[in-house]
C-alpha cells in the first residue's frame, strides 16, 4: 500500500495551492460582497490550464485525472468556496457531462475551448418542480427534422448567466420517462430563444453566478444530442457521481482552512494568562476537527484513485459529499466558536465561510439524497431495494 501522491500530483498540489493563495484568496471577500464572480480570476484559471485539469491532453486538458481535479478543488475550496463552485459547475458537471456522455466529434468540438476557459460551461438539470426528484423534469424537446425544439426552464443554474455552453436535460419521450425518455443536449449561448432569467440572491457562495435559464422554442441541431437519444438520464446521473467527489474535495479544503485558523488563533489568543490552546475544551474541538479532516482527506484521495483506476465509486462519492459537506459546516462553526465575537464579525472571513459551507449540504444532490444513494449501495447485497 502506497499512500503517497505521485510526483506529478505533488508538484500539481504545490502549484494549485500557490495559485489559490496568490490569485483566488485576494478576491474572496470581494466576490462575496459584489455577488458575482471575478472574471479576472476565471481568466487566470483558464490561462494557467486549470479548467481542463482532469481531461485528456488531446482535448487541451492537463491529463491529471480525477485525483488532479480533487487537488484543484481542495486548494480552491480552501480559499474561496464561491470560486470552487464556479470550477465545480464548469469542470465537474458542465464539461464532464460532454466528456462522459458525448461522442468523439462533440468532445473534439467543445472540450478544447472549455478546457482553456475560452468558453464557460453550466449544467442544467434542476427545475421548479424537479430538484432531488430529477426524473420529474418537464423541459421538453420535440424533434423537428434534423433539429430539436426545446421549451421549458431550469432554475438555480450555477454559471448560468456567464455560460457559453450548457448541458441541458430535457424530456424527449414522456411515455418512457427517465428510462429512455430523457435526453441530454448541448445548448450554446446565442441560440435563438435561449435567455437568462432571474438572478438568484443567495445566503452564501455569493461570488458564484446562479440564475434561471429559459428555453423558448430553442432550435438545437440533432448533432448536439449528447450521446444517444434517451440516454440523458444515465449521463446526468454518472456526471453527478463524479461531481460529488469534487464537491467533497472542495469541502475538504474549507475544513482544512477552518482547522488552520482555529489552531493559529488558539495558539496566540491569551485568556486567563494562557493561550486558548492550553484549555482542554478548545483542544478537544481541535482534536475532533483534525480527526475529521484526516478521515475526509483519506476518503477523497482514495475515491479519486478508484475513479482513475476504473473501479465503481458511486457509494464512496456519495460518502465524500455527505461527510465532507457536514464536516465543512461543523469545522467552520467550531472555528467561529474558538474565535468568539471575532469569528462572528464581517471583518473576518469565518462568517463568509460559514454561509458558504451551508450550500454543500444542499446542492449536487441534497444530503438526504446522498444517504439514499449510500443506503441503496450498502443494502443491495442484502436483497433490499432502496427507493427514494
Amino acid at each position: 500500500m502506497d499512500f503517497s501522491l505521485p510526483k506529478t500530483h505533488q508538484l500539481f498540489r504545490k502549484m494549485v495551492w500557490e495559485f489559490a493563495e496568490q490569485e483566488v484568496l485576494p478576491k474572496a471577500k470581494q466576490v462575496d460582497v459584489q455577488g458575482w464572480p471575478d472574471m479576472d480570476v476565471v481568466r487566470k484559471l483558464g490561462e494557467n490550464g486549470l479548467l481542463g485539469t482532469p481531461f485528456p491532453q488531446k482535448y487541451n486538458g492537463a491529463g491529471l485525472g480525477e485525483l488532479g481535479y480533487c487537488l484543484l478543488m481542495e486548494a480552491i475550496g480552501a480559499v474561496c468556496t464561491s470560486t470552487a463552485t464556479f470550477v465545480g459547475a464548469h469542470i465537474g458537471i458542465g464539461v464532464m457531462a460532454i466528456y462522459l456522455g458525448g461522442n468523439e466529434a462533440q468532445k473534439q468540438r467543445y472540450l478544447p475551448d472549455l478546457c482553456t476557459g475560452k468558453k464557460i460551461a453550466a449544467f442544467c438539470l434542476t427545475e421548479p418542480n424537479a430538484g432531488s426528484d430529477a426524473a420529474s423534469i418537464k423541459t421538453r424537446a420535440i424533434r423537428d427534422g434534423d433539429q430539436w425544439i426545446i421549451n421549458g426552464s431550469k432554475i438555480y443554474i450555477t454559471n448560468g448567466p456567464i455560460a457559453d455552453v450548457m448541458t441541458v436535460l430535457a424530456v424527449t419521450d414522456p411515455a418512457l420517462g427517465s428510462r429512455g425518455g430523457v435526453t441530454a443536449f448541448v445548448v450554446e449561448k446565442g441560440m435563438s430563444g435561449l435567455s437568462v432569467g432571474t438572478i438568484e440572491h443567495k445566503l452564501g457562495i455569493r461570488g458564484s453566478a446562479t440564475s434561471e435559464i429559459i428555453f423558448d422554442e430553442v432550435a438545437v441541431p440533432a448533432a448536439n444530442v449528447v450521446g444517444q437519444v434517451g440516454a440523458g438520464f444515465i449521463t446526468f446521473m454518472q456526471t453527478l457521481d463524479t461531481g460529488r467527489l469534487g464537491l467533497g474535495a472542495a469541502t475538504l479544503g474549507g475544513a482544512e482552512t477552518a482547522l488552520d485558523m482555529m489552531c493559529r488563533y488558539a495558539a496566540g489568543r491569551m485568556q486567563f494568562g494562557k493561550p486558548l490552546a492550553d484549555k482542554q475544551s478548545i483542544q478537544w474541538l481541535i482534536a475532533d476537527t483534525a480527526t475529521d479532516v484526516e478521515v475526509l482527506r483519506s476518503l477523497i484521495y482514495r475515491t479519486a484513485w478508484m475513479v482513475d483506476t476504473g473501479q465503481p465509486y458511486t457509494r464512496e462519492a456519495g460518502m465524500c459529499k455527505l461527510f465532507g459537506s457536514e464536516l465543512a459546516s461543523r469545522a467552520v462553526s467550531r472555528a467561529i466558536q474558538v474565535h468568539g465575537a471575532l469569528g462572528y464579525s464581517r471583518d473576518f472571513p469565518l462568517e463568509r465561510m460559514w454561509r458558504d459551507a451551508r450550500i454543500a449540504e444542499i446542492f449536487e444532490g441534497t444530503n438526504e439524497i446522498q444517504r439514499i444513494v449510500i443506503a441503496e449501495q450498502v443494502l443491495r447485497p442484502y436483497g433490499v431495494r432502496v427507493r427514494p
Binding site: K7, L11, F12, G49, T53, A62
Partner: protein, 262 residues
C-alpha cells in the same frame, strides 16, 4: 537563442529546524525546493526566448539523484530540456567542484548564448557560482542583473540595480549572468498542469556523472572542510519602552549609555 539555466535544489528554510541539544540542523521534516532566485533566472530565460522568436531553454543542475525534481519542475514551468549531473558527493564537495561540473556540461552543449543563474542560493547565500562558472568557461560575467533583453545579433543588455537607479550593461554572447530579485522582481509563472503531467515521463531528463564529463578526483576534491557547526547564542527577551516619544528616547539613550553601546 540557446540559454542554459543553472538551478539548485535547496531546503525550504521554513521547514528546517535547529536542534540546540544535538547542535545540528534537524532535517527530518525538511522539504526540498528549487532555489527561488533560480526560478527568476528561468523566468528571465523563458521571456527572452518568447520575445525573440523562440529558442532553447535548458535547465541544468548538479547534485544527488533527488535533484532531478528541480529539472522536472523546470520542464513543467517551460524549459525545453533538462540535465542532471548526478553525484551524491558533488554538493558536499563545494562550489569549486560544482562550477567545474556545470561548466563541463555546458561546454558539451554546443553553441550557448547565455548562462543564467540565481544571484545566491538559499543555503549559504555565497553567490559565488556565477563568477566561478564564468572563470571555468572563460566567459565574462554580470552579477546582480534584474533583467536581460536581447539587443541585436549576439548582443544582450543587462539591467543591473544600483543605489541611484539602474545600470544598463551591454554584453556580447556568450556570457554568464546572475539574476537578482531587484526592487520590483518579475513574477515567475506557474508550472503548466499539462506539462506537470508529462514531466515525470522516463528519459525526459538527461543524466550524466562528473566522470562522464571528464572530471577526475582532483577536480572533485572538496575545497573547504567543514570544521563543525556553531549555534548563535539564544535570543534573550526584549524590552518594550513605553511613554511619550521624548521620554522613550531619553530612556533609550540612558540604556544605550549604560550598556556602552554609544
Amino acid at each position: 537563442m540557446r540559454i542554459v539555466v543553472c538551478m539548485k535544489q535547496v531546503y525550504d528554510p521554513k521547514t528546517v529546524k535547529i536542534s540546540r541539544s544535538r547542535e545540528e540542523f534537524d532535517l527530518r521534516e525538511a522539504i526540498k525546493i528549487t532555489n527561488p532566485p533560480d526560478k527568476l533566472a528561468l523566468e528571465t530565460a523563458l521571456r527572452l526566448c518568447e520575445a525573440n522568436g523562440g529558442g532553447d531553454v535548458i535547465a541544468l543542475t548538479a547534485g544527488e539523484a533527488q535533484a532531478e525534481d528541480v529539472v522536472r519542475e523546470a520542464i513543467a514551468i517551460g524549459a525545453d530540456r533538462g540535465l542532471l549531473i548526478a553525484d551524491p558527493e558533488l554538493a558536499a564537495a563545494g562550489g569549486r567542484a560544482v562550477a567545474k561540473a556545470l561548466a563541463a556540461a555546458i561546454s558539451l552543449l554546443g553553441v550557448v548564448d547565455l548562462v543564467l543563474t540565481g544571484q545566491a542560493g538559499l543555503m549559504d547565500g555565497a553567490g559565488c557560482l556565477a563568477p566561478r562558472l564564468a572563470a571555468e568557461l572563460g566567459w565574462p560575467v554580470v552579477l546582480d542583473a534584474v533583467a536581460v533583453t536581447y539587443a541585436l545579433a549576439g548582443e544582450f543588455e543587462a539591467t543591473v540595480a544600483s543605489d541611484d537607479g539602474a545600470l544598463l550593461m551591454p554584453m556580447a554572447a556568450p556570457v554568464v549572468v546572475a539574476i537578482a530579485p531587484g526592487p520590483a522582481p518579475i513574477r515567475p509563472r506557474y508550472p503548466n498542469p499539462a506539462r506537470i503531467a508529462n514531466a515525470w515521463q522516463p528519459g525526459l531528463v538527461e543524466i550524466c556523472t562528473p566522470r562522464e564529463l571528464g572530471l577526475d578526483a582532483e577536480a572533485l576534491a572538496p575545497d573547504v572542510e567543514p570544521g563543525g557547526l556553531v549555534l548563535p547564542p539564544e535570543r534573550t527577551r526584549g524590552e518594550v519602552i513605553g511613554g511619550t516619544v521624548s521620554a522613550a528616547a531619553e530612556q533609550l539613550v540612558g540604556i544605550l549609555l549604560v550598556k556602552r553601546v554609544v
